[in-house]
């Protein structure tokens, strides 16, 4: 799949943003009064930047408002709806904190649930697609959860939580790659099943239907990045967890340390999310004899 910057920014930043709002909702850390504003500001800002980035993915954004209508059946619509609910509800929690100076346990708990569900809906946009076997598996939501919460924990200075999440993310991310690498062939999709020509013999593309590019090839048959996937995975893991882990372990908590670990982690996350798209093979590539 084409690793469009808009969707990478969307999933990474809105994920971290909503995870921050969720963690703040359960008092990790507990910040009240005016002190809560900068924390919430960062969380809401990240979520909103992510959501705005996603609008850039739209070719006809004037109809974006209609995306709230189909929440009963569409994960993308649900994502939109819950993103708004999460933002509104978290703002409500923030208001209580600022106005009343205490942490509303119940409302905060609700934040955790709906923000987590928002992250889940984002993950489900991809997980639901049978056409992309690498995504269409139970680990995909975990990757989204863990990567969102890990980043959120780091930037919120929750060192222990961050440390634990980093360890879990390492395991899940590696497992995701191992399982993902086999997902396509495990489904049994081949050029022969795509075309039904398996009954005649072994098929290959002889001539493409068009000698130039088209939307499908640009969007779904992205083969450029996969050549460097091992190198990129290594670099991605180095930034995602390899550097953050020892820093978290060995250094004292400080604003500078938190920000630098978060930045390193974010670089790793962008690389891994780029790979999430670039490595994902859509079955339509079979018709072009390209995966």
């Amino acid at each position: 799949m084409h690793p469009a910057p808009s969707v990478i920014i969307f999933t990474v930043l809105s994920g971290i943003g909503f995870a921050m709002l969720a963690l703040l909702g359960i008092g990790q850390p507990e910040v009240n009064g005016f002190e809560a504003i900068p924390y919430y500001f960062v969380g809401i800002t990240l979520a909103v930047i992510g959501l705005l980035a996603s609008v850039f993915h739209l070719k006809n954004p004037k109809n974006a408002i209609k995306a709230f209508s189909q929440f009963r059946s569409s994960w993308l619509s649900r994502e939109g709806v819950f993103a708004v609910i999460s933002l509104v509800q978290s703002t409500f929690v923030l208001a209580i904190k600022v106005v009343f100076g205490f942490h509303p346990l119940l409302s905060g708990g609700v934040s955790l649930i709906i923000c987590s569900f928002t992250i889940f809906t984002t993950a489900m946009i991809y997980t639901q697609l049978k056409t992309v076997p690498r995504w269409n598996q139970w680990l995909t939501p975990f990757v989204f959860f863990l990567s969102s919460y890990t980043g959120a924990a780091i930037i919120l200075g929750q060192v222990l939580l961050g440390f634990l999440l980093l360890l879990m993310l390492t395991v899940v991310q590696i497992a995701y790659w191992i399982i993902g690498d086999r997902a396509f062939s495990k489904r049994g999709h081949t050029i022969e099943t795509a075309t039904g020509l398996g009954r005649l013999g072994k098929a290959r593309e002889f001539e493409p239907p068009h000698t130039g590019q088209n939307y499908l090839l640009n969007e779904m048959v992205y083969v450029v990045g996969r050549k460097h996937s091992i190198k990129l995975r290594t670099i991605g893991m180095l930034f995602l967890v390899g550097l953050p882990l020892p820093i978290l372990w060995f250094f004292n908590v400080s604003f500078a340390m938190v920000v630098s670990v978060f930045c390193l982690h974010l670089v790793g996350l962008f690389i891994c999310r780029w790979l999430f798209f670039a490595e994902a093979e859509h079955v339509v590539g079979l018709y072009y004899d390209k995966r």
């Binding site: 209508s69 239907p209 068009h210 000698t211 130039g212």
Partner: protein, 926 residues
């Protein structure tokens, strides 16, 4: 939420106009939809006899051809050096003045100095007549480099050819064989026909080195090695003769199988027919055992007998034929390897042909009367049929190969019978009622007859002593039966001044500086070459085209043509009509929209130029223009009294068909009738047309010919033997010494196979591979690449290389390779293909474009990745060591031998640009 409310009955368009497609040679009927006065949608016309509502990719993409930015805008004159595309727009008046200033002096002194050649011209009856009136012998269309072998072999052998002049009996045939590249002429009818065959469970056999297109859907593929089709066909003939599987009754009734032939090699008349007092060929009458005129009432030939007269033995054609093809030389065991086939496949196909023809015979209970007046109560059919076109034709052995195929059809009794191959009016028409060629020119005099025709023997050649009368040397010893001329030799001969220099080269729709020439670079050089005085060796070039083709850059004067939707045209019975085996038909084009540029239909411009030049036939007695434009000509021109370009709605009131005085409202009558006219042949006249009295009478009534012309098929082609006798010194005139051996070898009156010339002159280990082109169904010649939609489908053309060769050379898809011939080399991208003859490489033709042409970006894939094989092909054969350079053509017809090309391949470094690369020509366009 409810479903949206959808308007399922929107208005399609404001208006529908019915005209004729011109996106290839097929000429389908089209409904052109207009919205706000602009073309909005084109679909097939359901009532039209050719396409019955369907339309191919090219036809549908016609809308983008109409809107192409490569359309020319106005007449232009060259203002910079030739080939640099520096032009200035001028008025039509100035354009005619310039043309007249070149042409009028030529006509006054030596009309030969005009060479007028038209390319993809569908108005040859006008263009040839114009050239005749001008008085130049130098006229032809592009048939000489297309498929003249197919046309000439068909007409000489059976009075009609494949092309679109006949068709398999799609509704009845049970076994159909299609040979070689045959995608464009009759393209939609063939696709529809193949589909009918599949529906009826008939078998389709594809004979082609490449298994694409029709071969892909064929039930059996014969992966023949290029140039060996004739050998394969004669091996089938061998098997059929050996198995006694020929239609003897048919052969004796309808062919010259029984004619007696002088079999004494020492005789002066060796190989000629025994003729009686009447001058007619003789057969031995079965009852009397005596030689009699072949067409005497009540006689049947006995082909088994021989006749001795004055020490000369005469044998029947059938005897000669049998002894020739029963020879081991034609046994499947002998030829299979050379053809790239297995013995079993050849034998099995022969058996299937025989089984289908004779065991699955069809009978139609339809009374008919033959040419001798004998009444028959049924029509017997042999349901095997064949089609071929350029694939087997474009070889130096093509004429004999095409003839071999017709002999095979005839031996099976499957021509003009139910289930077999059927002619479409104006065919069948034997070669000897076609005109002979004319080429004697004199100042200010029209030519005595048509340029192109069918010689009967050496006496009909267009030579003075040993010198050619025509600039292309058609109808000379080099290519005596060049019935379509040799457009591919015009520029090189004109440049060499051989046989003489010319002054003006006038061409229409012929992309000679690119894909329509062998040795394209050489042609570009010849067109721009200057003599010691700094004058161009070819002094003037007039060119007409609707689009910025590569040739535009080389013209001095451009006459811009319209698109096909802006013009009048007639698809005429005088030319290449759209008839059906069961109906006579013709059609028109008419301006469904008016041009928005200062352009004129070429035919109108040509008529107006003829008027300016005061050519005979173009002026009334009072000196006024006889025809205002092409539309006027179509309606009012009479070639013979009552016979004009269109056959329908003739007579003052439009009530006459075929013959009748001009009808001033004829074009409107065509328009009202959907753009075409159709007249059915009576049921009793639909088969056996060459021998069917009712058909012959019907054809005379319709003006197709002036008296009945029944004839027999020529298994044995006597005119060829006359050329051979001339080469042996027994017939006058005689060829110069250097031609004698070749004529003796090639002019066999019974089809033979010989090795294509190029491969006999190059080392086959150095050039082990064959290189050919195929036509993509969605792209017609060079026309397609300017088309916004078609070029997305075929924007570049890889070299397809057989799996064997790929493995041998380590070639993978996307690699580049250098292909080298005796003449040149090209470096191009390759793609593997396993469904390919193992000794063959190929590509799609005419997709490669020159940078800057056709209003395409200089970096268009057509110009960077696309390529032509033309750069590897020379118009002359490699030197033989005899001090002469022979043309790369069929020795009988002069057909350009495109498919004789031999090459070698080598892996090359990855490239970003196919080679050779030519500098951009920034051509004018809208």
């Amino acid at each position: 939420m409810a479903q949206p409310d959808l308007d399922t009955s929107p208005a399609v368009s404001d208006d529908v106009k019915k005209t004729t497609c011109y996106m290839c040679a097929c000429r389908c009927g089209i409904n052109v939809h207009l919205k706000d006065g602009k073309v909005s949608y084109i679909e097939g016309n359901r009532d039209h006899p050719i396409n019955k509502g369907v339309l191919c990719a090219k036809g549908s993409a016609g809308i983008m051809q109409h809107y192409s930015p490569a359309r020319l805008n106005a007449p232009m004159k060259r203002v910079g050096p030739r080939g640099t595309s520096q032009f200035e727009e001028i008025s039509w008046d100035e354009a005619f003045d310039i043309a007249k200033s070149w042409l009028a002096p030529i006509r006054k002194t030596d009309p030969r100095k005009l060479a007028f050649f038209t390319g993809r011209d569908q108005s040859q009856s006008l263009t040839s007549w114009w050239a005749q009136q001008f008085g130049t012998p130098n006229y032809a269309a592009h048939g000489g480099f297309c498929s003249v072998n197919m046309a000439a072999a068909g007409i000489y052998t059976m009075g009609g050819a494949f092309w679109e002049f006949g068709s398999p009996d799609w509704e009845r045939t049970k076994l159909f064989m299609i040979f070689g590249v045959a995608e464009d002429h009759d393209s939609n009818p063939i696709k529809t026909g193949l589909s009918r065959l599949k529906e009826r469970g008939a078998k389709i056999v594809g004979v082609n080195p490449v298994r694409t297109g029709y071969n892909a859907i064929a039930d059996e593929w014969v992966p023949i090695t290029p140039g060996t089709d004739g050998l394969f066909i004669l091996a089938l003939v061998h098997e059929l003769l050996k198995g006694g599987q020929i239609d003897v009754d048919y052969l004796l009734r309808y062919t010259n199988a029984g004619f007696l032939v002088n079999d004494n090699p020492k005789s002066k008349d060796h190989g000629l027919f025994l003729r009686g007092k009447s001058g007619k060929p003789q057969i031995i009458d079965r009852r009397s055992g005596k030689p009699v005129d072949f067409d005497a009432q009540g006689v049947t030939a006995d082909p088994t007998k021989t006749q001795r007269i004055k020490g000369v033995e005469y044998k029947s054609v059938l005897q000669l034929l049998a002894s020739k093809y029963l020879s081991k030389d034609y046994a499947p065991e002998t030829v299979a390897d050379q053809c790239g086939l297995t013995v079993e496949q050849i034998k099995r196909i022969a058996a299937e042909l025989a089984k289908t023809a004779f065991e699955e015979e069809i009978t139609i209970h339809q009374k008919w009367t033959d040419w001798k007046g004998i009444k028959h109560d049924k029509m017997i059919g042999r349901p095997v049929s064949f089609h071929a076109m350029r694939g087997i034709s474009a070889h130096s052995n093509g004429f004999q190969t095409c003839r071999a195929l017709h002999i095979l059809q005839i031996l099976l009794g499957s021509v003009e019978v139910p289930g077999g191959f059927r002619f479409k009016p104006p065919y069948p028409k034997p070669y000897d009622i076609h005109p002979k060629p004319h080429a004697t020119s004199a100042a200010e005099t029209a030519l005595a007859g048509p340029h192109l025709g069918f010689p009967h023997g050496p006496e009909d050649l267009m030579i003075d002593g040993d010198t050619a009368r025509r600039i292309d040397k058609a109808f000379t010893w080099e290519n005596p039966l060049s019935a379509h001329g040799l457009m591919h030799m015009v520029i090189s001969n004109a440049h060499a001044g051989d046989p003489y220099k010319i002054d003006t080269l006038f061409m229409y729709m012929a992309n000679m500086s690119w894909n329509s020439s062998m040795n394209s670079r050489g042609v570009m050089d010849m067109l721009t070459d200057q003599n010691e005085n700094g004058d161009y060796v070819i002094p003037h070039i007039i060119y007409s085209d609707a689009y910025s083709s590569e040739m535009v850059a080389y013209a001095d004067l451009i006459l811009p043509d319209t698109t096909y939707l802006e013009r009048h045209d007639c698809v005429s019975l005088l030319d290449r009509p759209i008839c059906e085996p069961e109906a006579m038909a013709d059609s028109i084009r008419w301006p469904v929209v008016e041009p928005d540029r200062d352009v004129r239909g070429f035919q109108s411009a040509l008529i107006q130029l003829g008027t300016h030049l005061e050519l005979p036939g173009f002026l009334n007695e009072d000196g006024s223009a006889k025809y205002e434009d092409y539309a006027d000509y179509i309606v009012n021109h009479e070639r013979r009294p009552g016979v004009g370009p269109l056959t329908g709605f003739r007579g003052k009131d439009g009530s006459k068909t075929g013959r009748g005085e001009p009808n001033p409202d004829q074009l409107q009558a065509y328009i009202d009738n959907g753009g075409f006219f159709l007249d059915h042949i009576p049921k009793s006249a639909q088969f056996y047309k060459p021998w069917n009295q009712e058909y012959q009478n019907w054809a005379v009534e319709r003006g197709i010919f002036d008296k009945p012309a029944p004839y027999l098929f020529n298994l044995y082609l006597e005119p060829l033997q006359k050329f051979r006798l001339a080469a042996e010194g027994k017939y006058d005139p005689q060829p110069p010494e250097q031609y004698r051996d070749r004529i003796k070898m090639a002019f066999d009156p019974l089809p033979i196979w010989y090795e294509p010339f190029e491969q006999t002159l190059v080392d086959q280990d150095t050039y082990p591979l064959h290189a050919i082109t195929q036509r993509p169904a969605a792209m017609y010649h060079s026309w397609g690449s300017q088309n916004a939609w078609l070029r997305q489908i075929h924007g570049r053309n890889p070299l397809y290389v057989s799996g064997d060769i790929c493995d041998q050379h380590g070639l993978n898809d996307g690699d580049w390779a250098t292909l080298t011939s005796h003449h040149g080399e090209i470096t191009v991208p390759v793609v593997r293909m396993n469904a390919l003859n193992p000794k063959t490489v190929w590509t799609w033709n005419a997709i490669g474009k020159r940078k800057g042409a056709w209003a395409l970006d200089e970096n268009a894939p057509e110009a960077t990745k696309g390529f032509l094989l033309n750069h590897l092909i020379h118009e002359l054969l490699p030197p033989k060591g005899d001090g002469l350079r022979w043309s790369n053509s069929d020795p009988i017809t002069g057909q350009a031998a495109w498919y004789d090309l031999r090459v070698r391949i080598a892996k090359a470094e990855d490239q970003t640009q196919s080679q050779p690369e030519f500098g951009p020509i920034n051509e004018p366009a809208e």
